[in-house]
């Protein structure tokens, strides 16, 4: 039986083949929660079946699409987009097979799974704590694996596709493609950064576990330490508690806040700083400096507001301000307090942070600080050029000139991002009116923004201690789309919808 090969400018079979290969590896993941299930006396079968089904299908598709394939940049777009779609399907299977009543509808299971692999953290669960531990661990694992994928995506794959924020700052000369240089490049970068990612995850597990063992935090145990570490690093936000991080001790909240900020920093930069033992690499980076400045400024605003409104005082106010700022900016989504109950100013600030994002080259979502940096410099130059029409000023970041093409792509991204956000928010509002659920304009904005930014909590009923359950299936579908678009930085998916992608013209 000869492999099926459609005729188009894209080696579709090759792309599907690669997706199948990746899926094949991913099918091993359910083994972990299976083991945990056995350990806690729960049923491992949903996971084992899921793994078998996915593995089998992947092998089958791999076989069907076997052959000599040229995986180049073109195929890269397809692979990237579809890997996440299939990953979400893999994530959903155990939910569906588990018999858990809150996750028995496919759309709900898919929503939760997509929220996992895109490291969003929005949940349709109403009662998180009713879930089996193995299921909770699977939730956390989907986010952790999603985070690994993001690192590779952000630092190796997307720059080669000339998308993403970080290629602007590193000397990522795309260069000629030799064989499957895409795969080779990915492998090199991935290996190094995954090590860092795993190491920091481990560090957080230890830190949290210690807090539990020493009794500083009575609610923390090893399971919770692992679950939270697995979801902090990918800036995911799937917790084990109904009230997010609120039930934990103040020290725990500070520790998690710290790791959130680390997770929102450029991993390649951190890697270089560690390898060369050069502590000045980070502060010398313009994006990092802006990242910290924005964190500081927003924290200050929130602290003052909390204090003056009497919502929290002293160390509480500072802690909650810093935590919420960090969580919304890095797109993690944990909450140390139910900020949906706070004031209008805090809501606007926090929703605003949703549009900033963390550093490029981290697991954060949203627009990302480096793009804001570039747009800011671009605007300043525009004004300069209006005053001095003949002036020639290159835009510089970290003392390197940024080429004009890159600047244009950043502007395009920002416009696309805002456009998609507006469409998403509008659809949510319209759908809410149709189904009669109570969704005010700010709440709709929050819901669209938080899913697009892969953060997690919104306002109103979908707040940090709330749930996305009341949304209709259509709204869930819209938000799944937003999560998908946001995670992949919009452009790879938009490219798939272009005629030029599929034809040679």
């Amino acid at each position: 039986m000869s492999p099926w090969r459609p005729r188009s400018a894209v080696d579709l079979a090759g792309a599907i083949n690669l997706v199948a290969t990746l899926t094949k590896y991913l099918s091993l993941a359910p083994l972990v929660p299976a083991a945990v299930a056995v350990g806690y006396g729960e049923s491992p079968w949903p996971f084992l079946f899921a793994g078998a089904i996915v593995g089998g299908t992947a092998l089958g598709v791999e076989f069907l699409t076997r052959g000599n394939h040229r995986i180049g940049s073109r195929e890269g777009f397809f692979v990237v987009a579809f890997t996440w779609l299939t990953a979400a399907a893999i994530g959903a299977l155990p939910y569906l097979l588990s018999g858990e009543v809150q996750l028995d509808r496919p759309i709900d299971a898919y929503f939760e799974a997509m929220s996992g692999f895109t490291t969003t953290g929005s949940s349709i669960l109403v009662d998180i704590e009713a879930l089996d531990r193995s299921l909770l661990l699977w939730r956390a694992l989907t986010q952790w694996l999603g985070g690994m994928g993001i690192i590779v995506l952000a630092l190796a794959v997307l720059p080669r596709l000339r998308v993403g924020g970080r290629q602007l700052l590193e000397h990522e000369a795309p260069g000629p493609e030799i064989d499957d240089s895409l795969a080779a490049r990915v492998r090199d970068t991935a290996r190094r950064l995954w090590l860092l990612y795993i190491a920091i995850t481990f560090a957080e597990i230890v830190a949290l576990a210690v807090l539990g063992w020493t009794g500083i935090d009575e609610r923390m145990d090893l399971f919770r330490a692992v679950a939270h570490a697995l979801t902090t690093l990918p800036t995911g936000g799937f917790g084990t508690e109904g009230r997010s991080i609120e039930p934990f001790a103040a020290t725990t909240q500070w520790v998690i806040a710290f790791f959130m900020i680390v997770a929102g920093t450029n991993f390649a930069l951190m890697f270089r700083a560690l390898i060369r033992r050069d502590g000045r690499i980070l502060p010398r980076d313009e994006e990092f400096r802006l990242y910290l400045t924005l964190l500081g400024f927003a924290s200050l605003v929130l602290t003052i507001e909390l204090w003056t409104q009497g919502i929290a005082l002293g160390e509480d106010a500072i802690r909650h301000a810093v935590f919420q700022t960090a969580t919304m900016m890095t797109s993690t989504g944990y909450a140390s307090a139910d900020f949906a109950q706070w004031t209008t100013l805090t809501s606007i600030t926090l929703v605003g942070l949703l549009f900033i994002g963390g550093s490029a080259g981290s697991t954060s979502g949203s627009v990302k600080v480096v793009r804001h940096l570039l747009v800011g410099k671009l605007l300043r130059r525009e004004i300069d050029e209006t005053i001095h029409p003949e002036i020639v000023t290159p835009v510089r970041v970290n003392n390197r000139v940024v080429d004009e093409r890159t600047l244009r792509s950043v502007l395009s991204f920002v416009l696309l991002y805002i456009g998609i956000f507006i469409i998403g928010a509008s659809l949510l509002v319209l759908d809410a009116a149709r189904t009669g659920i109570e969704l005010g304009p700010l709440d709709a904005i929050a819901a669209a923004a938080t899913t697009l930014a892969n953060t997690g909590p919104g306002l109103g009923f979908a707040g940090p201690v709330g749930t996305f359950e009341p949304f209709s299936d259509f709204s869930s579908f819209v938000m799944i789309g937003l999560m998908w678009l946001g995670r992949l930085e919009v452009i790879p998916i938009v490219v798939l919808f272009s005629r030029h992608y599929w034809r040679n013209a």
Binding site: H388, E390, I391, V392, T393, P394, R396, N399, V401
Partner: protein
């Protein structure tokens, strides 16, 4: 930075010459490759003290030189091994390659090195890249003189003291030589007053007053008149003060406009920026403008021709304290300079590639003209001079020279007080003792080993060198 590197290297070599205590060097055999403007200037400066052989492909140029000067000439390619060895390269002490083509100069020097290791090679180049490669030790040439860099340095010194006509430095910048054109607008404290009583800045001396065609080495009763051109030797601070006295109201330069971002313009801009002076660069080519804007982050680069009066007005080009015209074409520089002056440019400096054109520029009202070839020739001549003579500066188109000489033990001037020294058409402007500059008053005594900055007429140079 690049210029000071070439200078530092020059001084190192010649200082070692002094350490070995050479007497007045007899005929040094010098090969000069290239009889163009630079070559001709060098020949003019060196022909009477040393044995020169001049090479060029152009027979007519050589004829013109051999008619005026007593030198050997060879019509041939100075970069050819056969030509060089036939001419006796093994006996040459110094080879100066100063054709208009960098590559020929470099090849000539390298072949010379291959044939005769003892011959010191000096290469003229216009491409700053070769200077860089040479500084990294990758070129087998003893010295490189970069026209662009030397020109930029000369302009920088002028910009530092805007009312001066020409400036130079000695003793690592401790001693400055400045030439001023005195007008009636000068501070009355120095006009018409006998020098003995005039309140001139401390740490400086007037080396000479050039009045019309005559030179006066002033004594105490001499006065400065409007229309004079005075030569002052003093400390940098004193030079600044003199500048303020000659043209009151011009402060320290903060803002300069450079027309033309070619190699010369960029080199000038770079040096100015390093001094903390704000630079606006005007370049007509968009590509070049972008390139230079990327290279010089602190400069403001404009993509314009400099001929658009609207642009000049809008950008208030005239507000700049100094306007420098460094385009490749003398004609363009001339027009742009005149246009700029029409729109109120205050102080203009132009690079003039053709020496005869300097008069044209001065007639147009350009304040300072800089001839890269003359400056290059000056630098190169250094190597050929008495090794004790550490620095040579040519003024007034070679009528006068300022020398930096280390006194010998048996000089008749040792032990004399300065006020007692007989003046033989020369004046000692400053001495450098143990590395520090001293501006001698009458009671000061000359000691052996002092380095002396002497102002003298060109024809008396040999005398002065012998005397000291």
């Amino acid at each position: 930075m690049q210029a000071s590197a070439t200078r530092a290297l020059i001084r190192v070599t010649i200082a070692t010459g002094a350490a070995t205590g050479g007497s007045n060097l007899p005929h040094v055999k010098i090969f000069v490759i290239g009889a163009g403007q630079v070559g001709a200037t060098i020949v003019q400066a060196l022909h009477d003290e040393h044995e020169l052989t001049v090479f060029d492909l152009d027979g007519e140029r050589l004829a013109a030189i051999s008619q005026r000067y007593d030198v050997h000439t060879v019509e041939g390619n100075g970069a050819s091994r056969r030509v060089l060895s036939d001419a006796g390269i093994n006996g040459a002490d110094l080879l100066i390659a100063c054709t208009s083509r960098d590559e020929s100069n470099i090849v000539a020097a390298m072949i010379s090195k291959a044939c005769s290791a003892r011959t010191t090679t000096v290469v003229r180049t216009t491409n700053p890249e070769y200077l860089e490669v040479w500084r990294e030790g990758q070129l087998d040439v003893d010295f490189i003189v970069s026209s662009e860099v030397e020109t930029a340095y000369a302009i920088l010194r002028t910009v530092g003291v805007p009312s001066a006509r020409q400036t130079d430095v000695f003793a690592d910048g401790q001693v400055q030589l400045v030439e001023f054109d005195v007008t009636a607008a000068a501070d009355p404290a120095i006009l018409g007053e006998p020098l003995r009583e005039a309140r001139t800045p401390a740490d400086s001396r007037i080396a000479a007053i050039i009045r019309g065609d005559g030179v006066v080495i002033p004594r105490g009763d001499e006065t400065i008149q409007p229309g004079d051109r005075i030569v002052v030797i003093g400390s940098p601070h004193a030079a600044q003060l003199w500048g303020d006295l000659i043209s009151p109201g011009t402060g320290k330069v903060r803002d300069v406009v450079v027309f033309g971002a070619g190699r010369a313009g960029t080199a000038i801009a770079r040096l100015l920026l390093e001094q903390g002076i704000g630079v606006r660069l005007i370049e007509a080519s968009r590509e070049r403008a972008r390139l230079v804007a990327a290279e010089l982050p602190d400069a403001r680069v404009y993509n314009a021709t400099g001929f658009d009066p609207d642009f000049l007005e809008r950008e208030r080009i005239a507000d700049a304290q100094v306007s420098i015209f460094a385009m490749r074409d003398d004609l363009k520089n001339h027009f742009a300079a005149t246009l700029a002056k029409v729109h109120g440019a205050r102080f203009t400096i132009a690079i003039v590639h053709d020496a005869p054109s300097q008069e044209v520029f001065e007639h147009a009202g350009v304040d300072v003209t800089v001839n890269p070839r003359q400056i290059t020739a000056e630098e190169i001549v250094r190597f050929a001079h008495d090794p004790r003579t550490q620095q040579v500066v040519m003024l007034e188109g070679d009528r006068f020279e300022v020398l930096d000489i280390t006194t010998q033990r048996d000089s008749e001037y040792i032990g004399l007080k300065f006020k007692d020294m007989p003046i033989r058409g020369a004046l000692i402007g400053a001495i450098v003792r143990d590395g520090k500059a001293v501006f001698p008053r009458g009671e000061e005594v000359l000691r052996p080993g002092d380095r002396v900055i002497v102002f003298t007429e060109s024809q008396r140079v040999a005398e002065v060198e012998k005397a000291l």
